[in-house]
Amino acid sequence: AGCGNGTKAPAEESGGEESGNAPAQVKNVKVMLDWTANTNHTGLYAARDLGYYKEEGLNVEIVQPGAGGTDAMVASGQADFGISYQEGVTLARTQGVPLVSIAAVIQHNTSGFAAPVDRNIKKASDFEGKSYGGWGSPVEEAVMKSIMDIDGADVSKVKMINMGDADYFTAVKRDIDFAWIYYAWTGVEAELRGEPLDMIYVKDYSEALDYYTPVLVTNEDKIANDPELVKAFMSATAKGYEYAINQPEEAAALLSKAVPELDEELVLASQKWLSPKYQDDAARWGEQKAEVWNNYAEWMFERKLLDKPLESEQAFTNDFLPNTP
Amino acid sequence: MSRNISIPGAIDAAAAMPSSALEADGITKSFRDRKTEVKVLDGLSLTVQPGQFASIIGPSGSGKSTLFHIIGGLLKPDAGAIRMNGSDVTGQKGRIAYMPQQPALFPWRTALDNVLLPRELSGMPKEQARDEARILMERAGLSGFENAYPDTLSGGMQQRTAFLRTLMSPQEVMCLDEPFSALDALTRTDMQHWLLDMWEADRRSVLMITHHIEEALLLSDVVYVMSNRPAAILQKIEVPFARPRSEALLHQPAFLALKQEISDRMRNELRKS
C-alpha cells in the first residue's frame, strides 16, 4: 500500500511510523473495503495514489475485508472508514451498531436480476416458473415479490435456490436461470465474454428499491470526536471520485496499477460503464437523500425485515461532503 | 485335535519315496544392518522323519529361532532349501504349526480366543473348536482363565496359552521354540508328559528348540546340537532309550552319561568362541 511516509506526528492513530520532515501532522487512516477491490473503489485508490489524501495530511491504508467483517470493524473503530451498503447500515443500526453513512458512492442502484438472453426473462413476470439463485435472504424474496406484484405475477412460482459462493456465470450453467448481480462488474464481464444477458434493474420498479449501494461509512464516535478528520478524508475522497468520473481511462489504469492482480480489461470496461453513474443526476458526488433512506427503511419495516423503524436522520449525513451547495 | 486334516501338497510327493517330513538343506543366512553383517546360519542341515520327535539344542543367539523363521517361510535363506515330504517349500508359509519363543498372544483376545485363532484361520467352525479348546485349557491348568486377557496372565500361563494355540494348529509338522522355558519344574514335567502322550497318539512330526538337555533327551528320538554363530549342526544324537520313557530314566547312568556328553560338547563349543 502507498505509504505516504513523509511527516512527523505524535501518532495518535494506530501504529504510526514517524519519519521525514514535513510540517503538518499526518494521521494514519484505515479504510476497509466491502469485497475485493473493484471499480466501486476507484475513487479511493485515485485519492490515495494521486496524493489527495496526503494533501489533507492523511496517510490512508486501504484494507481488504475479512469474511464479511467490514461493518463490525468500522463500528468498533478498528477501521476508520469502510465501504458498506444501505441495506447493511439499515439493518445494523436497528441492531444498535453505531454505523453512519457519510456518502453514497453510486447515486442509483445498479443492481438487478440478470439472466442469459436464452432464458427469455425480459420482465419480472417472466420469473414465474424459473429458478432463482440467491443466498437465501428474506430480503431477496421480498424484493422479488415487490416487483413481481407490480407485474401481477406470483412470487411463489419462482423456485428459490441458495447458491452460496457460486457466481452468476457458474450458476446459470446449471439449474439456475437468473441471479442478482451488479451490472458494473458482473454485467460488464458478461459483455466482455460475449454472453449477453437481460437485466431487470430493481430501481425501475419501485422508488423504494433505488437505494444506495455502496456507501461510505464511519462510526458515530469518529463523527463526534474527530469531525475534522472525517471532513479531510471526505474532501480528498470526493476529489478521487471526481477524477474517476472525469478521467475513466486514467482512473482504470490507476486501479489496475494499484491492484495488479485484477483483470485490466474488465477494470477498464467496468470503469467506463460506471464513471457516469457515480454522480449521475445528483448535485454533487456522494449526496444522499433522506427520502431514499426513509423509503427503503419503511419498505423493509412493512415487510417485517426490520424489527423496528429506522431513525434515518442518524443513519446518514451529508455534512462532510465538500463544497456544500 | 485335528490331526486328520490334510495339507495340500503334503501327500502327493510322499508316494514317490519315503521322504522326510521336514528337511533343512544347507541353510545359510546373514543379517545385514547398515554397516554390520551378522552371519547366523552357515550351511545348516537337518531332517525330521515323519512321526519323529526331534530337538535342537544350542547356545543362546546361535540362530535357532532364525532357523524356525526360515522353516516357516518368514525369512528367505541366502542359500539352501526347506523341503517337506520331498517337495521344496522354501519361503512358503502356513506349512508348520509354530510356537514362537515369545508368546505373541493378541492382547485384544481372551485366552480362549487366542487358543482358537488357528481354527479361525483354517476356516473351521468355531463352536465345536471352542469345546475342544476348553478341554485343552483345563488340562493345561488354565481353567478359570478362559476369559482373561493375556496381560492379566502370568508369564507361565501366557506360555501355556501359546502352546495350546499351537496344538490347535492343523499342520502335520510342529515347530516349538522353547515351549516350556517359563514353567516351574513340575508344571513343565506335566506338560512334557502330556505332549508325549499326544505325540504318541497321533505321531505328528515335532521339532523342538530347548535349552534343557534333560528335556531334549527325555522327549526326542533325535537331538541336534547346534554350534555357535555362524551355526551349523555340531552333532546329531539318536537317543537310544526305549519308549515310553518314565521319570526314572533321569537317574539312569546311560542317560546321565549322554547328558554329560552333550553338555561337554557344548562347553567345548562355547569355549572355542
Partner: protein, 256 residues
C-alpha cells in the same frame, strides 16, 4: 451411576467456568452485543426466538451423520486399499494431500455444476473433510502392527485378509479412533460449510442469514448448536471406542 457422574462433572465444571469467564469479560470490558454477545444474551435469544431452529438443527444433524458415515467409510476404505497395496500408497498419498487443499470457494462452483444443488455436493464436502484424518490415522496405525504378532500370523499361514481382519485391524483400532475423533470434531463444521455452498435449510444457512442481518446473538446461538452437535458426535465416538477397545481401557489398578 457414581462412575458416570465422575466422568461428567469435570467437563461440566470446565464449561461453566469458561462461560462464567466469558460473561464476566463481556460485562467488565463493556463488549457490545453486536461484537460478542454474552452467554446470558445468547441463552435468552435461544430461549425466545426459536424461529425454526429445531428444524435447521435436525437438517444439519442429518447431513452431518450421513456425511460422517460416508466420509469415515471412504477414509477407512482408502486406508485399507493403500495399506494392502503399499506401492499404491506412496503413489497416491500426494493426491490425498491435494484433496485437502482445494478451497471451498473453488470447489463449490465445480461441485454445483457437476452435482447440482441437492444433498450430494454437501455430502461430498463433509466427506472431503472427514475422510482424511481417518485415512491417515488408520494407515499409520495399520503400518505399525506389532512385529512378533505379525511374524506369528504369517507363519501360521494367515491370508492377506485374515492378517488384516484378525491382527492389523484390531491392532490399529486405537489409532483409527484417534482419526475418528478428529473427523467427528470436524464433521459438523463440514456440514455447515457444505450448507454455505448452497442450501435453504440447516444451521449453516441460518448462521449466514443472521450474519447478514447483523444478528450476532443469533449467529452465536447457531455456533452453540454447532458446538453441541459436535460434542455429541465426539461423545458418540468416545462411547463406541470404550465399547470396542475394552481390553485396553480396563482399569489396571496401577497406582501412580
Amino acid at each position: 451411576m457414581r462412575m458416570w457422574w465422575k466422568d461428567v462433572w469435570p467437563p461440566v465444571v470446565a464449561v461453566l467456568l469458561f462461560l462464567g469467564a466469558w460473561q464476566a469479560a463481556v460485562y467488565m470490558f463493556h463488549i457490545e452485543d453486536w461484537i460478542l454477545p454474552s452467554p446470558a444474551g445468547i441463552a435468552r435469544e435461544a430461549a425466545s426466538g426459536a424461529q425454526g431452529l429445531p428444524g435447521h438443527t435436525l437438517a444439519t444433524l442429518r447431513l452431518t451423520l450421513t456425511g460422517f458415515v460416508i466420509g469415515t467409510a471412504v477414509g477407512f476404505i482408502i486406508a485399507l486399499i493403500l495399506h494392502m497395496l503399499p506401492g499404491l500408497k506412496t503413489a497416491l498419498y500426494p493426491l490425498l494431500v491435494v484433496s485437502q487443499n482445494v478451497p471451498t470457494i473453488a470447489l463449490a462452483p465445480l461441485l454445483m455444476i457437476w452435482f447440482g444443488f441437492g444433498m450430494l455436493p454437501k455430502i461430498i464436502v463433509i466427506t472431503l473433510v472427514c475422510f482424511f484424518p481417518v485415512a491417515v490415522a488408520a494407515m499409520d496405525g495399520l503400518a505399525r502392527t506389532d512385529r512378533t504378532m505379525m511374524n506369528y500370523m504369517q507363519m501360521a499361514g494367515a491370508g492377506r485378509w485374515q492378517t488384516f481382519s484378525k491382527l492389523e485391524l484390531p491392532h490399529a483400532l486405537p489409532s483409527l479412533f484417534s482419526g475418528l475423533r478428529i473427523a467427528a470434531t470436524y464433521s459438523v463444521m463440514g456440514a455447515v460449510i457444505g450448507e454455505w455452498i448452497g442450501s435453504d435449510r440447516g444451521i449453516g444457512y441460518y448462521m449466514m442469514l443472521q450474519k447478514s442481518a447483523y444478528r450476532t446473538d443469533r449467529v452465536f446461538v447457531a455456533i452453540v448448536i454447532v458446538v453441541l452437535l459436535s460434542l455429541l458426535m465426539v461423545g458418540l465416538i468416545t462411547l463406541l471406542e470404550k465399547r470396542l477397545i475394552r481390553w485396553n481401557a480396563k482399569s489396571r489398578e496401577v497406582s501412580r
